[in-house]
């Protein structure tokens, strides 16, 4: 459908063909679409879906690492982890604000998350079982997120693109502190080396799944690419990630959990074995190792904050009377 010409698409989406043509011409010129501008209802819907999912991922993403703040092995590592988790909270805020410019309210987005209706990145439904998982999350998970976010920083919707520029800058700190940790431990004591190997073994495949289904199975990709929300496909981004990470992890002496992994001279790409998509869909549908725990923690945090919201509202009301 989305390879079709603009008139066919206007009919299918029930949009004014001239407005749609002008809109697509703006995107083709590299202009940003801003909140007050005309946009197809489907563009708005797709952006709200993506941005709110992205915001939820930042918020839920605080949980796996947050669990380790009190158990960090040094003051330096504790400060780094605190700052990182605080950044994720901030990123969630930037993104909720960007979604609000499209008419979504904070309340309905939060309700969708707490009711279990909204999706968030499947990666956060895995447990962090050792300290080295924090390094693996930084280098692998945040590294994968940065590739996606660097693309989104160029997206056609102004507020989303500006939020992404800011987020990418901060995520680079997240990635590099993780990479530093993994490099150091991979050259450390036998126990440290074993801990790092175990962490990468567990996080490798779930990280590759983060880029989403293969292009052929990705129902939204066509329209997202046509309207400049995404400029690269899931498989392109995943391949770039694999090509970046495999040589670096191998240089650290880490063995990747994939007997089929090999370098393809002809295409200059590292090729992995097949991804277990059954696992991906199971986690996405709520049956991952930590889905229930994550949602319970979010609901608890929201309930625990209720008195703060009430107190702040009461204080504001009282100040207005005085």
């Amino acid at each position: 459908m989305y390879g079709a010409d603009v008139e066919q698409i206007a009919i299918q989406l029930n949009e004014d063909p001239q407005k749609l043509a002008d809109f697509e011409a703006r995107i083709a010129r590299g202009e940003k679409i801003e909140p007050g501008d005309w946009m197809p209802a489907e563009y708005r819907r797709q952006l709200i879906r993506m941005i709110s999912q992205h915001a939820h991922s930042e918020v839920v993403g605080m949980l796996p690492e947050g669990a380790w703040i009190t158990k960090a092995p040094s003051l330096r590592r504790k400060l780094i982890l605190l700052a990182k988790v605080q950044d994720e909270a901030g990123h969630g805020q930037y993104l909720y604000h960007a979604a609000e410019t499209l008419g979504a309210t904070r309340e309905e987005m939060l309700d969708a998350l707490l009711d279990g209706k909204a999706k968030y990145s499947s990666i956060f439904n895995y447990h962090t079982t050792t300290w080295a998982d924090n390094g693996a999350i930084g280098w692998l998970v945040d590294g994968a997120a940065i590739l996606n976010q660097t693309m989104l920083a160029r997206c056609s919707y102004g507020p989303y693109s500006r939020a992404m520029v800011r987020i990418c800058m901060e995520e680079n700190f997240h990635r590099k502190q993780g990479q530093e940790m993994i490099i150091l431990y991979s050259q450390g004591t036998p126990a440290q080396r074993a801990m790092v190997q175990d962490a990468i073994t567990r996080w490798w495949w779930p990280t590759l799944m983060m880029f989403g289904p293969h292009d052929a199975d990705s129902p939204n990709s066509g329209v997202l690419i046509r309207w400049g929300i995404k400029t690269r496909t899931n498989d392109e981004l995943r391949q770039e990630f694999i090509n970046q990470l495999v040589p670096d992890l191998q240089a650290c002496g880490i063995v990747l959990p994939d007997p089929d992994l090999h370098y393809d001279e002809a295409s200059k790409n590292w090729r992995t074995g097949p991804i277990d998509w059954d696992e991906f869909w199971a986690v996405l549908k709520g049956n991952g190792p930590a889905n229930a725990e994550r949602m319970a923690a979010r609901r608890q945090a929201h309930a625990d904050g209720q008195w703060v919201r009430e107190a702040a509202a009461a204080y504001a009301a009282k100040s207005q009377i005085q």
Binding site: D87, E107, N172, F173, A313, Y315, A316
Partner: protein
Amino acid sequence: MTDTQWPRYMVFQQEGPDQPVVHNGTVHAPDAELAMLNARDVFVRRPEAVALWVVPADAIFTQTQEELAKNELAGEASGYRVEYYVFGKFAQQAQCRQIGQVAASSPQTAVQAAIAAFPDQQPLWWWVLPISAVRKSESTQAESMFLAARYKTFKDQAEYPVVSMMRQLRDKGKLG
């Protein structure tokens, strides 16, 4: 859609004493005081601010070039004149930044006054907001609000020399 949310405040930030004030984003808060605290937590986790402003989002009047071209110019009504801050957005990717200030009797006439006062400025859109609607961070509190972030250098990606660490690992591998 029922709106039970807290009001939205626009957040403006000044990164250095000689820098213009720029729009950064929004926060929700029950009042300006908490909006200021939220803005500090959300937008000043890194050492990039000497001042923060919060302004109720509905106090800002926007006029795009397109709208200006369509609209007839409103004449300056005789009435009580107040001071407005004038902001402009100059590029698709840029944040709205402060241009100056004008006195006018309405937001619409403030835009006209701004166009007359700043003839060399051609923003994609103008923002005007009454100075009285702005809450600014207190200069006496600048140290406690903004200084702490300056010493948290571990938030800077340059603190992690991973590229040279990887190079050393590879060199070691070649020798071994």
